[in-house]
């Protein structure tokens, strides 16, 4: 119980990753697969964001003219958040390409069910 409460952010991301993987592997609808893919990506982004947070810390802006030395413990770590801005862009691009591919598939096969697409491909 202690392990779960003190590290709940890790548990949250593990559960989300598993949900995402389940969606990608088990669901036969291409849209649902893409949603699973998104959950998978967001879980990693949330994981990164959570490791930057600290209890009792403030935003990492140093006010000019501060007398005392900067203590790292007083500020949350901004770097993981900056990295995740890039990762979010990557995630959005992934979703965009995936949706474009689904539209292409729908135009050709008139369905977004994986099984029917495979059937249609076998027939040719």
């Amino acid at each position: 119980m202690e392990l779960i409460v003190s590290k709940f952010n890790y548990w949250a991301y593990i559960v989300m990753i598993l949900v995402g993987l389940y969606g990608m592997m088990v669901k036969r609808n291409l849209m649902k697969k893409v949603i699973g893919m998104n959950i998978f990506q967001w879980s990693i982004i949330l994981f990164f964001i959570s490791i930057g947070a600290k209890k009792g810390a403030t935003v990492p802006i140093i006010i000019k003219g501060t007398e005392h030395a900067v203590k790292a413990a007083d500020y949350i770590n901004p770097l993981p958040h900056v990295l995740m801005l890039t990762a979010i862009v990557v995630g959005v691009a992934t979703t965009g390409i995936a949706l474009a591919l689904i539209i292409l598939a729908y135009r050709r096969y008139r369905t977004i069910e994986e099984d029917r697409i495979i059937e249609a491909l076998k027939k040719r």
């Binding site: 990164f48 993981p80 990762a87 691009a93 992934t94 390409i97 995936a98 598939a105």
Partner: protein, 493 residues
């Protein structure tokens, strides 16, 4: 200018990709020329960097924006990636020149500039992955390369968009796993720079978090490089793609990711960590060892020649892992040589295949019956590439394989040695079957149509120069080995 080569080799194709796209909107014919000029300039920079590394004999480090390495992003060129950069950019250039006519036919007039913009993005990603020395930057560039690959594959024949979507789902899991691994390393050290990580990790090797991090990174990269049990996406994606795409992707992508595995396992971690402390690479080698035999059998079972080549690509990437799994200098040298040589061999095979495919409009093995009389140059270069893949002595494929075999013997990995030899035999069966088919004279009935097409001069020159490269690279392999031996981490083995 010269001091900025390491960033220019990445930034130039990136910027030119947008320029190509924009100029293509009003003036489409320029797209091809812009792409070739950019690729040629990248190759020129790669040659300059290669010479600079030879002359100075040390790592060229470039700090982006003038920020010092642990805080800013560092691009570094050393003996390992100078070689990969040169091979990647040169093959990119040759392939683009070769596939001009094929692109014009397959993609059609109004979309060629988009295609070439994606090609340049692909080259950006591949060169960037090679040159970067920052693990997160590497993730971004890996995704740039992957995204352009999805786009390039999806424009293929019926079924390509579905294959691309599948590749994408696999690829996203791979990239996600890599990013997760990077996150674990970041939690431990607070750094993303490779040489800084090596320093900071040195007293953390007992940590389970570190092991988990490396496992995730390896899993992600293994998916991207199509290592055996995770190769499912590759045959579909590369064989449904347009011919011009598979000639570009198949020689380069998987090999560059194999380079990244070497970079992460042996320069971010101490070489003994993934080899001896936790034998991850030897375990991967054992799995891949089984895989190369399976891939050999699968290759023989294919009736479509491009699909056969796809399985051979997976087997060839497996050899690189086998060389690493040997765990000694010789095996490592063989693996690095094989990255470079395999790029050239696959480039020749796929380009020769694409030329013949353009003439015959069919990739089925029965259509290739008796074509050697009609297309002697094309078939000869294809067979030459095949002989090199099998490992016949004068060609370069022999030398890299020889070093891998020496490494496996020295390391006493008899099982891996047996799988490698057996897989060589299977590759021989594959290519001799094609040799037999193409040189059959009787029953070559389909070939009497008068609409005979000729291989254009540029295509012929590319094929001839790639064939020449296979022989030259074989001849200079002694020099290359002495070059590779200067890689710092080889001393630690």
């Amino acid at each position: 200018m010269k001091a900025h080569w390491p960033i220019l080799i990445v930034a130039l194709p990136l910027i030119m990709s947008f320029v190509t796209f924009m100029t293509g909107i009003c003036y489409r014919a320029a797209a091809y020329h812009l792409t070739v000029i950019t690729a040629a300039f990248s190759t020129f920079i790669a040659i300059c960097l290669f010479i600079q590394v030879i002359v100075e004999g040390m790592t060229i480090s470039y700090h982006i924006g003038g920020w010092e390495p642990p805080w800013g992003i560092e691009y570094a060129v050393d003996h390992l990636n100078a070689l990969v950069l040169l091979a990647t950019s040169l093959i990119g250039l040759l392939t683009i020149i070769h596939s001009r006519k094929i692109v014009a036919r397959e993609i059609g007039g109004e979309k060629t500039h988009i295609f070439y913009a994606l090609v340049l993005l692909q080259i950006t990603g591949l060169l960037g992955m090679t040159v970067t020395s920052d693990v997160f930057n590497l993730y971004v560039l890996l995704e740039i390369a992957s995204f352009s690959a999805y786009g390039l594959i999806a424009v293929g024949r019926k079924g390509a968009e579905f294959a691309a979507l599948r590749y994408m789902i696999f690829g996203t899991v791979g990239a996600g796993a890599y990013l997760l691994g990077v996150g674990y390393l970041y939690i431990l050290t607070g750094s993303l720079n490779m040489s800084d990580l090596l320093r900071l990790l040195s007293n953390l090797y007992g940590s389970p978090t570190l092991l988990a991090g490396l496992l995730f990174i390896l899993l992600g990269l293994a998916i991207k490089m199509a290592a055996f049990p995770l190769h499912g996406w590759l045959p579909d994606a590369y064989s449904q793609a347009p011919a011009s795409t598979s000639t570009l992707l198949a020689p380069l992508f998987t090999k560059v990711v194999a380079y990244v595995i070497i970079r992460i396992c042996f320069t971010v971690f101490h070489p003994s960590f993934a080899l001896h402390t936790y034998p991850l690479i030897p375990i991967m080698g054992a799995i891949v060892g089984v895989g190369i035999i399976v891939m050999g059998v699968m290759a023989i079972a294919q009736s479509d020649i491009r699909r056969m080549l796809c399985y051979i690509v997976i087997a060839e990437v497996g050899y690189i892992i086998l060389g690493l799994a040997a765990g000694n200098r010789l095996g490592m040298i063989g693996a690095i040589l094989h990255i470079v040589y395999d790029m050239f061999m696959m480039a020749l095979l796929f380009n020769a295949w694409a030329t013949i495919y353009e003439h015959l409009k069919s990739s089925h093995i029965s259509a290739w019956r008796g074509i050697s009389k009609k297309y002697p140059l094309e078939v000869a270069t294809f067979i030459l590439g095949g002989l090199s893949v099998i490992g016949i002595p004068p060609f370069c494929g022999f030398f890299s394989k020889w070093f891998i075999i020496l490494g496996l013997v020295e390391g006493g990995k008899w099982f891996l040695l047996a799988t490698l030899l057996l897989s060589t035999l299977l590759a021989a069966v594959c290519f001799f079957r094609i040799l037999e088919q193409t040189s059959l004279t009787h029953g070559s009935n389909t070939m009497d149509d008068r609409s005979e097409k000729k291989t254009s001069l540029s295509e012929g020159v590319v094929l001839a120069s790639l064939s020449a490269f296979l022989i030259i690279l074989g001849a200079v392999s002694g020099y290359l080995v002495s070059f590779i031996e200067k890689i710092p981490f080889l001393g630690a083995l």
